[in-house]
């Protein structure tokens, strides 16, 4: 069983939902990433998404765009990233998901990249510009190695949700709103409807995680109350990192994570 799957069954047994946190590696530098991960683990994050920067992050809003630029300027490279993942793996068993763009994998070859990632300790991938139509090679490379987490959107048809669910493992990522990451809109009725529809359609066969614009304990509470299995918080962590000095990072991230995690226990 994959670490992600195990995590969800462990949480189900405790009657808890999952808090998934996202940070960009190398933002604002590698040391900060390590401290932040320690804080996330201490604060109780159930799954950690590590963003790997791409020069053209077209699904991301200003906060993650800026973090990508800074990370690249600081010299984030694939090999160094895998070394960092290995270091993180020594600290924790928390499932680690790599979020980046298709070209980063394509460039090295899907199979090559995925096996290196798995060796380092990555459990799954999220590629926001990978559509199922183009995913054949990617899926083949990931099979038996890592989970493939696909995204759906409130405008995804029922028929497509079915197709996407077939190739998704780990959890299904429901993009809450029309927009890029970090968008601030409040919770929309169409999102609540999408959650209800997708839950009904998937019948608990795969956990549903909601992300994009989820940033406060109140947001988490609201989404959990309508029955999602996981919430994904990203830009809010990066904003916190942006304004926190190195020696405060672990402590500040721990307490923010705790405040979010609290809302996932029902």
């Amino acid at each position: 069983m994959s670490r992600i799957k195990e995590k969800f069954s462990e949480l189900a047994a405790k009657k808890e939902k999952a808090l998934i946190s996202y940070i960009m590696v190398g933002f604002p530098n590698e040391r900060a990433t390590l401290s932040a991960v320690k804080g996330l683990v201490k604060g109780g994050a159930d799954i950690i998404e590590l963003g790997f920067p791409f020069s053209d992050p077209l699904a991301d809003g200003p906060v993650i765009q800026n973090a990508s630029t800074v990370s690249l300027e600081k010299g984030t490279k694939i090999k160094k990233f895998f070394q960092l993942v290995k270091k993180i793996r020594k600290l924790t068993d928390t499932p680690l998901v790599l979020m980046t763009y298709t070209n980063i994998l394509y460039n090295k070859g899907y199979s090559n990249f995925i096996s290196e990632a798995k060796k380092a300790g990555i459990d799954g991938f999220i590629l926001p510009d990978m559509s199922i139509e183009e995913s054949k090679e990617y899926l083949k490379a990931a099979k038996g190695n890592t989970d493939t987490i696909f995204l759906i959107s409130p405008n995804t048809t029922k028929k497509r949700v079915k197709e996407i669910t077939k190739v998704t493992s780990g959890f299904l990522y429901l993009v809450a709103v029309y927009g890029t990451t970090g968008i601030k809109t409040g919770i929309k009725n169409y999102t609540l409807k999408a959650i209800k529809d997708v839950k009904k359609q998937t019948q608990g066969k795969i956990p549903i995680g909601v992300g994009f614009g989820v940033s406060t304990p109140e947001d988490v509470k609201k989404y959990i109350s309508v029955g999602v299995d996981a919430v994904i918080v990203g830009s809010a962590f990066l904003k916190l990192l942006e304004k926190t000095s190195q020696n405060q990072i672990e402590r500040k991230i721990t307490s923010f994570t705790k405040s979010l995690k609290k809302q996932t226990k029902i």
Binding site: F54, S55, D56, P57, L58, A59, G61, Q65, T69, L72, K77, I78, Y101, T102, N103, I104, L105, Y106, N107, K108, P128, D129, M130, S131, E133, E134, F150, L151, I152, S153, N155, T156, T157, R160, I164, V175, Y178, G179, T180, I183
Partner: protein
């Protein structure tokens, strides 16, 4: 390739897009397939192309230039004479009309040199629609005349201050806008790039260039040209020139921007120096580093300053049907001045790349042979840029 199945030209193309855009791209493909053969749509588009944009454009025998070079006969396909001053209007009229049929109220576009933005603003004004245009901040400065024109035409221009602040970043921002406003917005993409069906749709709208070349050459010489040459940014004027001649024996040459020289690393010659990758919804040749990060490009012409290229060009490069050359900034300035002085035609810096290559190619061809160069746009927008270059590089 007539209609690429699944959007693939060989291995190139496809649709690598966020899920939110999938329904929009599907809706676009369905409507495009429906209207492209619709009699009324075709008649309307034809009307605008003729009466509004000024088609057909002349095929002009550049006698003075030909004599000066002393090789094959050079003909210029005068897309520079179109309304707006570039081939871009062929595509914007087609897509704006399609958007109107699809009941889309809001049009967004990206622009590099500003020519596509201007052509979008014009088509939207003519068809009574609102447009917003994303343009790299660096380009808003080097092509500021076009920013004024867009403003006057009623388009809202958003300068993009991210990344390299050029065309690729303008496309990123336009895609982000599209994701955010997907329900009411039509993305009017300006070149034969992006996710399927854009590359094939833009090619089809631009193919009027090659179709006219064929029939004009038939009238003039009763044969196809021996060679056609066009500049390649995203590749729309080039594919529009090439596609109708793909199954003929005509030699076909695309010309990329070699900037300060391919070896210098400061260029935009994607097909000449790039490698395969995924950007802006397509798999194609890209300028990228070993880690898959897209690299910054350079060209004296904003319209060619792009690290990708339309997927059909990648396909035509690999199957060797088309040869891709490149021209440096300095060769381009020479060609710009040469055409201006010999023929009294001021070409866009983009188009001057094709002229620069034609000068080389013509001298290697027999006098009995004919070369058609697509003059994709006029150079009024570039005179300041050229003057600055000349001041800096004392040449003349």
């Amino acid at each position: 390739m007539k209609y690429p199945k699944g959007g693939r030209f060989g291995e190139f193309g496809g649709k690598y897009i966020p899920e939110t855009l999938v329904p929009a791209v599907q809706e676009l493909e369905e409507n495009y397939l429906k209207f492209k053969n619709d009699k009324i749509f075709k008649k309307e588009l034809d009307y605008y192309l003729k009466q509004y944009a000024g088609r057909p454009t002349p095929l002009y025998f550049a006698k003075n230039l030909t004599e000066k070079i002393g090789g094959a006969k050079i003909y210029l396909k005068r897309e520079d004479l179109l309304h707006g001053g570039a081939h871009k209007i062929n595509n914007t009229l087609g897509q704006a009309l399609l958007a109107k049929k699809m009941n889309k109220k809001r049009i967004i576009a990206e622009t590099g040199a500003g020519q596509h933005g201007v052509a979008t603003a014009m088509a939207c004004a003519a068809l009574g629609m609102k447009s917003e245009v994303y343009m790299g901040y660096k380009d808003t400065i080097r092509q500021k005349l076009n920013v004024f024109r867009m403003n006057m035409l009623g388009a809202k221009v958003h300068p993009v201050k991210l990344g390299s602040k050029t065309l690729k970043d303008a496309i990123n921002e336009a895609i982000r806008d599209w994701i955010t406003n997907v329900e009411n917005t039509y993305y009017l993409l300006g070149s034969a790039v992006g996710p399927h069906p854009y590359p094939v749709m833009v090619r089809d709208f631009q193919s009027v260039i090659g179709e006219e070349i064929k029939s004009q050459m038939k009238k003039l010489l009763n044969k196809n040209p021996d060679c056609v040459i066009a500049c390649v940014g995203g590749g729309s004027n080039a594919i529009g020139t090439f596609y109708p001649l793909i199954d003929s024996s005509t030699e076909i040459i695309g010309v990329e921007a070699a900037g300060k020289g391919i070896k210098s690393g400061l260029h935009s010659a994607t097909l000449s120096a790039g490698s395969k990758g995924v950007l802006h919804g397509m798999m194609t040749y890209l300028l990228q580093d070993k880690e898959g990060q897209i690299t910054e490009t350079h060209s004296i012409s904003a319209g060619l300053d792009y690290p990708g290229v339309g997927p059909e060009h990648s396909y035509l490069k690999d199957n060797k049907r088309v040869k891709y050359h490149s021209a440096t900034d300095s060769e381009v300035i020479d060609a710009f001045l040469l055409l201006t002085r010999t023929e009294g035609i001021i070409p866009a810096l983009e188009s001057a790349h094709a002229i620069a290559d034609a000068v080389k190619v013509a001298s290697n061809h027999k006098k009995s042979e004919s070369i058609v160069v697509t003059l994709s746009g006029r150079g009024d927008k570039d005179v300041e840029e050229v003057q600055n270059y000349l001041d800096k590089n004392v040449k003349n």
